[in-house]
Symmetry: C2
Subunit: 335 residues, 2 copies
Amino acid sequence: MLSNRQENILKFIVEEYIKSAKPISSHQICDKLECSSATIRNEMVYLEELKLLEKNHFASGRIPSEKGYKYYVENLMQPKDMTGEDMLKLQTIFHNNTLDLNDTIKRSIEIVSEITNYTTVVLGSGAKDNRLKKVEVVPLEDNKILTMVITDKGFVEHKNLFLPKNVSTEEVKKTVDLINKLVVGTPLDEISEKLEYSVKPIIGKYVRQHELIYNTFYDAFSEITNKESDVHFVGRSNFLKQPEFSDIEKIKEIFSKFEDANCIREIAEDKNGINVYVGSDSELSDEVSVVKTHYNIDGEEGTIAIIGPKRMEYDRVVSLLDYIKSNIGGDHEEE
Amino acid sequence: MLSNRQENILKFIVEEYIKSAKPISSHQICDKLECSSATIRNEMVYLEELKLLEKNHFASGRIPSEKGYKYYVENLMQPKDMTGEDMLKLQTIFHNNTLDLNDTIKRSIEIVSEITNYTTVVLGSGAKDNRLKKVEVVPLEDNKILTMVITDKGFVEHKNLFLPKNVSTEEVKKTVDLINKLVVGTPLDEISEKLEYSVKPIIGKYVRQHELIYNTFYDAFSEITNKESDVHFVGRSNFLKQPEFSDIEKIKEIFSKFEDANCIREIAEDKNGINVYVGSDSELSDEVSVVKTHYNIDGEEGTIAIIGPKRMEYDRVVSLLDYIKSNIGGDHEEE
DNA sequence: CTTTAGCACTTCCATTATATGACTGCTAAA
DNA sequence: TTTAGCAGTCATATAATGGAAGTGCTAAAG
């Protein structure tokens, strides 16, 4: 258990280091807390024994360790009031009624990325658990047709297909009718299976060239349902602005993680509320922290995450995320 | 006019520098061309006077200048045979019949980025010149409806709308019918105008709550048509692998250009064939080169670009792009 | 028992000096 | 026209130096 003074020292060091990115000396602290630098030094030795603080070298000031950041986030951090400026910028998004949920979220994290200089991500949940609402085809010029798969949650996936020359649009329409009659309401991830045992056996009765058409649709479906959930990244290059990433090797490490979308998807499983993952807990790199939250608005779900250096303004980021979350929820109910 | 030997020297320097990223000395050259280093040095002085070569400092070897690269690309470069390995990787994409044009292109530039370690981009032309094929609404649960705008080229844009409580789906459908009757066939960029003078005046006769519904659609349309053409970037972080970008400031410059999608869009206007833009001609940065080409397959058009350091394997990149271009053209006609 | 002043000690960092290696430019001879 | 050879220039790596920053420890004071 830490004494009050020890907590104050830790809090000061974390917050000051977040601002300056430079190790904090005992002298800097004794100006704030009313005691001498020697006293502070004694306390710092204790905090270092608890692995809450670290030194770069023998005679450097202290910096927070990963454990120190965590202690700060869990015990010392106070919710930060948002500045009017930040609020104003976000409100122009929330009050724009022409935006749907996805766009609102995307725009707002763009703002967040811009004002904080961190990297932000939205991770749609994709359409895996959606159910098929309908399939539709629209004939375009020549032998080109547009195929659309529409889900109950309003997710649309489309694909332009080129019909083999000996297949008429009529035949395709019959297939589509059959699919709509038999498969609508099925969750997307069971579609392939259902096509195979409920459509395939009877399609031959109604449609000529059924093999070709069936295969085309089967392929289109499996491609659509395998489609990875969409990842919307903003402000990756903000990492370049952080002094602790002036080393090109660290940048490489982070960016290669970013290019691998799976890695981002892994950070999605989540508890309720807003969660902070410091350093190694982030699953991305020991050098970064992730603040994230899950949303579920009328069945559309996803994850919003803010990624920055461990030396991140946790209080500000948490309150921004909180603000966004409370605003996207009630968007359409206001009117 | 350069002598044969001078051209050989320039060619050797460019190609060797592309491989090694290190200034080329006269000694390296005289092993290849059969003469002494002193002779080479004399020639190099001449090439430097013509601004085809540069030095980093007094006693360094030579590196190609921007003008030198251009001379190389226009006069000295020979088409490079593709390696079997590169071809094989691309063919797995081209022979996959379930992919439509966009996906084929995206996948193939992903391959290119991977095998070359350069950055690649596809720039769809968007749907600006497309004509409206139809508008469709699908009622989802509660007061949520899915609105889709479909164009004659198979471009689909969709948006989830929340209906105000006092508006029924029937009313919306009437509006959609009206739009389909009156506006179909109009180029997307003229839609707003046409809505205003041909739909708005009469909608009041058929639809109750017409103001609300009309405005909702009007907004949705203008948002959809203003939507920027899609930009698909791959392998941005490949720049980090290039030794000339070990300086974080240069990386910042490039990456900030990449974040600004407009900047990419500017590189789109194009002559026929495959074009090489070295350094300042690239419009991105003096430090990079862009190799790009425009495609137009059955009305779907766009630009493919490969972005790398000036010290780029021009011959290889050109042949890759050539190969892709000749393969995406005839994709669906093979069957 | 806690706090403080003071000093010795450690490490970093920027500066300077030095040596080395890599090339070129030039001159004079082939 | 080509070549050999040498002096001159610059980058790079390494080592030496002096200071600045900040700690740990000790002993005295509160």
